[in-house]
């Protein structure tokens, strides 16, 4: 499969390009997506290629971006709307969770909302508390909206294509820290679709399962390599989707290893980790050989100081320590 080595931003760009060529109803909109060619360069060259009608610059107006996208989707188009960072998607919360997520249900199936909200997410780089967050679990709280977040180029490519083609609203979040990370990715391939709600075993193991997504996969994989030196066999599961959650894969892995560490870049209270831990204990109680351990960001607004910021975030050392606590 691996015939190109591209950073994730390029993988996303190719997915978008191909889908826009394939389906005329797909269009992109957002702050700086047209003339500036995208804050994260995902829409580089799009204006030239598709023109102003399908590549729409918007003002700083997240609430309006959300509302327009929902309206356009209800009217039969397939908008891909970009929030520069997910933190400002809170301004569009009403459009996202009160409308996009519920319309199909509220109108008894008369309307579909085939839209994708793309948003850069994650923290690091001293962007401070208001810019630094991974609030995906908040959006995954609401039924009706899919929430996906890739960990590498190939997944970004296959997951974004699937999201654009799906008839349900999708919040597609992209870790800022991964945009520049190169990774193998297939050649232009119309059928490279990674189905929504399917996770992926990144690394097989027998002693403990690490459940994670996005940048957590990198920390988990590094930790797994270290732990291997100590004779601990770690299975790393990239869930890819926070909703729908691939519970089948999770339970299967847990039943094999009997131990779980959940790694999330987000905050610990009422989080992805809380949900997953609850589901595992409800469904796999008799398979538990140790308490379920969570590695999360610290429960604080992210500090500006570089060192305090690093302390507040998870990393592979923290994952190793967590695994060792339950082995």
């Amino acid at each position: 499969m691996a015939s190109r080595n591209l950073p994730m931003r390029e993988a996303l760009r190719h997915a978008l390009l191909e889908e826009m060529h394939r389906d005329e109803s797909v269009f992109v909109m957002g702050e700086e997506v047209a003339y500036w060619q995208g804050t994260h360069r995902v829409t580089r060259g799009f204006l030239e290629e598709f023109g102003e009608k399908r590549v729409l610059d918007t003002p700083i107006s997240e609430m309006a971006i959300g509302g327009v996208a929902v309206g356009a989707a209800m009217a039969g188009l397939r908008p891909v709307a970009e929030f520069m960072t997910i933190n400002f998607a809170f301004l569009a919360l009403d459009a996202l969770v009160n409308h996009a997520a519920k319309i199909h249900y509220m109108f008894n199936g008369m309307f579909k909302v085939p839209l994708v909200f793309r948003a850069a997410t994650g923290w690091g780089d001293q962007a401070t508390a208001t810019h630094s967050h991974m609030p995906e679990p908040i959006f995954a709280h609401f039924p009706g909206m899919y929430v996906g977040t890739p960990s590498n180029s190939a997944d970004a490519y296959g997951m974004l294509k699937a999201s654009i083609r799906d008839d349900n609203p999708v919040l597609f979040t992209e870790s800022i820290g991964l945009y520049s990370k190169p990774g193998p990715m297939p050649d232009e391939d119309e059928d490279f679709i990674l189905p929504i709600g399917k996770g992926n075993i990144v690394r097989e193991g027998t002693d403990v399962s690490i459940f994670t997504y996005a940048r957590g996969v990198e920390w988990a994989t590094k930790a797994a390599r270290e732990l291997e030196q100590d004779g601990v066999s770690v299975e790393v599961v990239d869930l890819r989707w926070l909703r729908p959650l691939d519970t089948e894969l999770i339970f299967e892995s847990f039943k094999k290893t009997n131990r779980a560490v959940i790694v999330e870049e987000s905050l610990p209270m009422y989080s992805f980790g809380s949900e997953l831990a609850a589901q595992i204990q409800e469904n796999c109680f008799d398979y538990m050989d140790a308490p379920i351990k969570r590695v999360s960001a610290h429960d604080v607004p992210l500090p500006y100081s570089k060192y305090l910021e690093a302390m507040a975030l998870p990393d592979s050392d923290k994952v190793v320590a967590a695994v060792k606590e339950i082995i």
Binding site: N258, F285, D286, Y287, M288, D289, A290, E325, I326
Partner: protein, 418 residues
């Protein structure tokens, strides 16, 4: 919710220090028990009010027995008032509702499992399920997980401990194994005395050891003049600190260093398995004023500095003689040293304390005529030491080498310090 107070050893109730209705703080002593070798204090596992006391003074019960219940003031004790003497009964009655079958059996046994302060066995849900499927009593399984938690692998790898004939376990009847002594004499000419719990344990333990451990003995005579000289120097030096190193301390040190060099004698015999201990913990036989004997353990005696050891030993011996020593200080010995030096004994041999595989008996340092290097007669100070060895673990030649090494340390005592 009422909470059970459970015994962590076998013992006889000496004294209740609290009454029903008293409120207690966590860690407060609520009862005193006479355990095998010491008086043991039972502490409250949590804050609360005593709801019930389930034993009477003088009653003997097994490890795991529920002896009292704690709870909120005014709360009714669970499982009825009164005492519940038999361990099995207690376990059935008092088992918390959520416990599964494997756990219900737990309090009645005396296995190696880690228990929480309130007596629950720490085991993962998976370990519990597997144990239930295999019919294994978790109380018998040692936990390897964090905090001693029993995990799946422990249950899967569990083999019932081979009951080594060498392991002394007190028969419930209290009479010594396989012996009949006929009718008990009566009349004014005799006084009938109950055998104390400790005496019974010593009797049974030594009989078992002597009958089932093939002992052999090796004796040497040591020149202890340099040792006594060095001891004087050390003590003069340490006088200001109030530390006094005894001959016994030095002998223990020498034995520990020798054990370090001969790991085979730091090995315990368990039927089809030998357990080689990585730590050298020397058990020291201490005579008690009331006709008893207890082996106080000097942990890591090979690496503990002599002065520190002297202080520790002094404290432990005092505690032992006062009957205050805690169980943890008499457990875990890997080799026994018995010293009758203070009693002017020419030589003696010691019975091995199974599953240990060796014991060193040290007699008195005595002034004796010696043949000096130039062939003339003179006076020297000599001490005899006898090594007892379990022949199943080791043989004569190794024992002789052990003693050679030991002699080298005693006769060149600076080596104990460097």
């Amino acid at each position: 919710m009422a909470q059970d107070v459970t015994l962590t050893m076998d013992g006889m109730l000496l004294n209740w220090l609290k009454d029903v209705g008293d409120s207690v703080k966590k860690g407060e002593v609520i009862a005193e028990f006479e355990a095998d070798k010491a008086t043991v204090e039972v502490e409250a596992p949590a804050d609360g009010t005593i709801l019930s006391l389930k034993l009477e003074v003088g009653e003997e019960v097994d490890e795991g027995t529920v002896i009292a219940q704690l709870g909120d003031a005014g709360e009714a004790p669970a499982g009825g008032e009164a005492k519940a003497p038999a361990a099995e009964e207690a376990a059935e009655e008092e088992a918390p509702e959520e416990d599964d079958e494997a756990e219900e059996e737990a309090p009645a046994s005396n296995g190696a499992a880690a228990t929480t302060p309130d007596g629950r066995i720490k085991a993962s849900p998976l370990a519990k399920r597997v144990a239930a499927e295999k019919g294994i009593n978790l109380a018998q399984v040692a936990g390897s997980g964090p905090g001693g938690r029993i995990v799946k692998a422990d249950v899967e790898n569990y083999k019932p401990a081979p009951k080594p004939a060498a392991a002394p376990k007190q028969p419930s009847g209290g009479t010594t194994i396989g012996q009949s002594y006929g009718k008990l004499p009566e009349g004014d000419d005799v006084e009938i005395i109950d055998v104390s719990r400790m005496r019974r344990l010593i009797a049974d333990g030594t009989v078992t050891s002597f009958q089932t451990t093939p002992h052999f003995y090796l004796t040497i005579e040591l020149d202890v003049e340099p040792l006594l000289g060095l001891r004087k120097e050390i003590n003069a030096m340490l006088e200001d600190e109030g530390v006094k190193v005894s001959v016994n301390d030095m002998v223990v040190k020498a034995a520990a260093l020798t054990q370090r060099a001969f790991p085979n004698l730091n090995t315990h015999y368990y039927g089809d398995k030998l357990v080689r201990h990585k730590r050298v913990n020397i058990a020291i036989a201490v005579a008690l004023p009331n006709n008893g004997l207890v082996n106080v353990v000097s942990p890591d005696a090979d690496t503990t500095p002599l002065s520190e050891m002297a202080k520790y030993h002094k404290q432990m011996f005092t505690d032992a003689r006062d009957g205050n020593i805690k169980q943890e200080y008499i457990k875990g010995g890997t080799f026994l040293v018995s010293n009758l030096g203070p009693y002017d004994v020419e030589s003696f041999s010691s019975i091995i304390d199974p599953p240990e595989s060796g014991a060193l008996a040290v007699a008195s340092a005595r002034k004796v005529p010696v043949v000096k290097e130039d062939g003339t007669l003179g006076v020297g100070t000599r001490m005899k030491a006898t090594l007892s060895i379990d022949h199943r673990v080791s043989d004569g030649a190794e024992g002789a080498q052990w003693l050679q090494y030991f002699r080298n340390l005693i006769e060149n005592p600076m080596r104990l310090l460097v």
